[in-house]
């Protein structure tokens, strides 16, 4: 399934209890908890900056067409303290990203976890997110 984008919509809407990645802005301002996504592709480049890192990757859609995606991770400071560096993801390396789609329908996602080329899967955001929230009003 490498280099194939697998877009899974509408699953398990009541089970959104993950730690949120972004302290900079409200998750709900930009992303949709109802649209989880898994991307399997190839890293193009990484922007390592505040308020969030961005990973740009190429992944094929179901028709086999390569599409460019951009995915938001945590803040560099927090990621650094969790063992990341700007060289953790390198150009042309395979990567698998789990996250959520942006509300605007663009090929933009919020990363929760990243599977690295060596097989390790690491958080893409803050490990300090120890208060689960649905980002939905009661």
């Amino acid at each position: 399934m490498m280099n194939t984008a697998r877009v899974l919509f509408g699953m398990c809407l009541v089970l959104m209890a993950a730690a949120r990645l972004a302290a900079h802005h409200s998750f709900a301002a930009e992303f949709d908890t109802n649209k989880p996504i898994t991307l399997v592709g190839t890293v193009d480049h990484v922007e390592w900056g505040n308020p969030h890192i961005w990973v740009y990757l190429d992944a094929k859609d179901d028709q086999g067409t390569v599409q460019r995606w951009q995915c938001e991770g945590g803040a560099p400071n927090t990621l650094t303290r969790n063992g990341w560096s700007k060289d953790s993801l390198k150009s042309s390396e395979p990567v698998t990203i789990d996250g959520w789609l942006a509300k605007d329908g663009s090929r933009t996602c919020n990363m929760r976890a990243v599977k690295l080329p060596d097989g390790r899967t690491v958080f893409a955001g803050s490990s300090n997110g120890n208060v689960a929230t649905t980002q939905k009003k009661p």
Partner: protein, 261 residues
Amino acid sequence: MKTNLTMRIAAVLAIVGAVVFAHPATRAQQEYKPAPSEYKPPAGPTPRLANGKVDFSGLWAKPYVPDMTKDGQNQKGMADLPFTPWGAHEWKIYDAAEGDYTGACLPFGMTRSMNTPEPMQMIQNDKYLAFLFEQNSWFHVVPIDGRPHGNGIATWFGDSVGHWEGDTLVVDTVNFNGKTRLDTIGHPHSEQLHLTQRFSRPDLGHLSYEVTVDDPKTFTKVWKNVRTFTLRTDWEIMEYSCEENNKSLWEGRIKPPKYKQ
């Protein structure tokens, strides 16, 4: 294709009766949980300044509190907020997708700065306590020499003064501009917000924190959160420039807030 794939997955999940284990959010808790931190804060007695007052200086790890109604590690929330009709209406109509001031890199304000997962450095002498928030590299200075509140203009972080009640430092903050939210999820407050933050340091490595929210326009009674901060001697505070690469705002996925001027 997408529909077929989703249906196949849903069928499998139904058969095993374990949908919960298949959801990415749940997988995150099972597969992606980072190794437990081996860090232990230093042990020792409560440090004090030459004047005998408790010294809160240090770099502190704070629990991330995106929702002040929730409990969490080192955090006790307020489950049912006692909204006034005005407060309930403000909460009901809030939608971060229609304007998110933090996403626009505007100042978080006092409670949201305390709520962030980024650490905070405290620096103190006889007259002042300074909060250096790593989040967006903001700071807030509190006179602690007994002076009253000033008469300045309303601000994002408010006007703070501190006084001692035994070994507890009580930071009293008023004069907010009303443009912030209490937490990430967006609980409201008004310009009548009056915060009382109580700091004590039971030992070298820990800080006990209590924040009381008093806002008669928004809440019918005062309420509080109680937290524990941990001294991080292995960290240094880092620069955080929110405007550096705020793509989400620039590309229109985050909308700036609409304020009445």
